[in-house]
């Protein structure tokens, strides 16, 4: 069990660095946007890819476990919630849109990735 937890840790370390890079890149591209484009993009693509690897990769293999671990660290629930709270003090409608669209499109993206 400890080995599996360490695999999740290593994947999360890799995934978090990818998220940090993607966030910085997207924030440069979308400066002046109040909408949290970076986290939105990350959570939707991460959900799609998690569905995809679960649908395509053979069960109970290291490659699947490690892919899941990377995507778990790449996506983030805590930042999603905190950006919603921060945005709600400035742009209420946009914060509701971010909150609901992230969840709705994220779940649809996971389904789409799993089905194809």
């Amino acid at each position: 069990m400890i080995e599996s937890a360490l695999i999740v840790g290593l994947g999360a370390a890799v995934g978090s660095l990818i998220r940090y890079g993607v966030t910085n890149g997207l924030k440069k591209m979308f400066t002046g946007f109040a909408f949290p484009v970076a986290t939105f993009f990350i959570n939707i693509t991460g959900s799609f890819l998690l569905g995809l690897v679960n649908g395509q990769l053979p069960k109970n293999t290291f490659i699947l476990a490690f892919s899941v671990a990377i995507l778990g660290g790449y996506t983030t629930f805590s930042t999603y919630m905190n950006e919603t709270v921060q945005l709600s003090t400035k742009k209420k409608v946009m914060s509701y849109a971010y909150y609901l669209l992230s969840a709705f499109i994220g779940i649809l993206a996971a389904l789409l990735g799993y089905m194809i």
Binding site: M1, A12, A13, G15, S16, G51, G73, G106
Partner: protein, 127 residues
């Protein structure tokens, strides 16, 4: 470079903790994911508000704690994939409960964490 190292090491710790709690809960792993995500939503809000007022901390380490430790601990992809797994297995009620508890609970806890974190900021203003 130091920032990258902090993120890597702290995300390793956050991810390993998530992995450990998830495996510990066995078949009920989605309950673990809910608790992890709710705790993380609170902790991120609280530490970003409170820590800079409690201790002297570099931006690099603060980024390591928020992006790495808490970001690596919580996960959105498992939330969305767990949801469709529950729906596809015809556990519609549990699936809806999973989505609603995660979303509503996460928002409430992030809100409480933000308020608590801000109370440290206000204390400093009064000094």
């Amino acid at each position: 470079m130091r920032r990258v190292l902090y993120i890597f090491i702290l995300a390793f710790v956050g991810g390993a903790l998530r992995g450990y709690f998830t495996l510990l809960s066995g078949n009920d792993h989605f309950i673990a994911t809910i608790i992890i995500n709710l705790v993380g939503a609170f902790v991120l809000a609280f530490i970003t508000g409170a820590i800079p007022y409690l201790i002297e901390i570099s931006n690099d380490l603060m980024t390591g704690l928020s992006v790495g430790l808490v970001g690596g601990f919580t996960t959105f992809s498992t939330f969305s994939f767990d949801s469709i797994n529950l729906f596809l297995n015809h556990k519609i009620g549990i699936g809806l409960l999973y989505v609603l508890v995660s979303l509503i609970g996460g928002l409430i806890l992030a809100h409480i964490g933000t308020k608590l974190g801000q109370s440290f900021e206000n204390k400093e203003d009064q000094l």
